[in-house]
Amino acid sequence: MENILQQIGIENYIYLSTLLFCIGIFGVLYRRNAIVMFMSVEIMLNAVNLLLVAFSTYHQDASGQVFVFFSMAVAAAEVAVGLAILVAVYRNLNNIDIDNLKNLKG
């Protein structure tokens, strides 16, 4: 493992996960379908998981990998709540386009 990390270099892992994170951010900002937005949030969280695992190997320290378990559990709980809200929206509106949700303003 160590060899591969040395050959590739830690910077490249950081670049990759930053790229994934930015894809997630732009997905949340530009897509209008709620499910695609949820998937983009998941990409953001998984980019962080990748980064944590890379750093964990880089530092030869297990706590980074343990943190990944926490963040996966949290992401699962978050998406469960999000999908429940989505179902409530669908029952009221019969679609899940986020543009329909703009009654609150002022």
Partner: protein, 458 residues
Amino acid sequence: MYTLVAIAGLGILCLIAEIFNLRKAIVPITILGLLGSLVLNVADYGKTLSYFNNMIITDTFSVAFTSLFIILAIFLIALTPVVHKEHKAKISDFVAIKLFLLTGAIAMVTFGNLAMFFLGIEILSISLYVLAASEPKNLKSNEAGMKYFLMGAFASGIILFGIALIYGAIGSFDTGVIYGALLENNNVPGWFFIGIVMLTIGLLFKIAAVPFHFWAPDVYEGSPTLTTATMSTLTKVAAMASFFKLMTTLNRTVPGSYITIISIVAILSMTVGNIMALRQNSVKRMLAYSGISHAGFMLMVFFSPTFTAGTLFYYAAAYTLAGIASFAVVLFVCTNKENEDVYNFNGLGKTNPLMAGILTCSLLSMAGIPIFSGFFAKFFLFHQVFSSGHVAIVIVAIINSIISLGYYFKLIIAMYTKESTAEKQTVPFTYGAVALIALVLNIAMGLYPSFALELIFR
């Protein structure tokens, strides 16, 4: 630590009580349990203890804020059965979720490790997503829940990325180790500071400070009023306290460029919050913008972080107690009304002088009029920031306090000078009691400020 375990256990107990059909006993037992955990918490006062490999550290800061959170949670849970009296079957869910929210808030001020901090902020946020969307048939509540969920998940992602970068730079999640590593060598990798900035951005989202505030008014307006009360008191103060603790435990001295950014955010929050509040008709939206401006005031504590933990606590307590009192009155007035607009409050001074008086006093406390603790909170805060040499921001803050009188008085004038539109209602006991006790605590803090100010020492 035992407080945290006790409150999480109490939440589970609530869910079990529902199974055994003990619905009537849930709220009294929860309040007794919370008073018990308040005692348990105060017993830790004055000691610095660490548990589970430094995962949890209790010191005077965490004990003081935990006590404040527990008191706020008692008020919010006491209001639950009256608000949901048509949905008796759901009471145990609402109480349990509020208890889990309190667990998250306590974890956010007792953390000694970034993992604990992240878990705390997520427990708090996920409970709030559920509460914000807790009226599934109401489209407004759906919209509020959806907006809050998307913004919250987005902010959590940014916080998590920040934590990962800090871990990458130092090699540990322990705040003590990070602090030590920063003391030892000055050339930490550049991505450490990017991590700190991302953490800051994420937390500014959570406390709704200005460039990241756009979700707050919509979510506050759409959510059920009791949830709005929770968000604008407990959650805002919990996020602020954990922001303060994070910055003071990670950085020994806050660098000058960071201070510049925070001062810009604070000035923008105060100004934009106050000016937008002036043109609102909905009371909930107005209180949301007033909350944004109070977040700006609270951000001013960063100008001399070693001394101002007491001031932050005092300000937070004064603001939240006034907030609870005013939201109890808003809940009373706006039951069975379609919206929360100002005209609903017309003539309240004649039909219900007690509630009108309480709302007036709590709004005056938020505006910073003497006798009430809001005045002393602002006075101590401005005094400290002034003596640390930031004169310009104090002037902006004072101008903003004057602007804020405008919208608070709009509501007060509506209550006392306009003719009533609704018939007289009797006040349910809980609304009156909660509002009165919160207001009395607020005034007591104004009369004896030194007690609350000196609670936190190192």
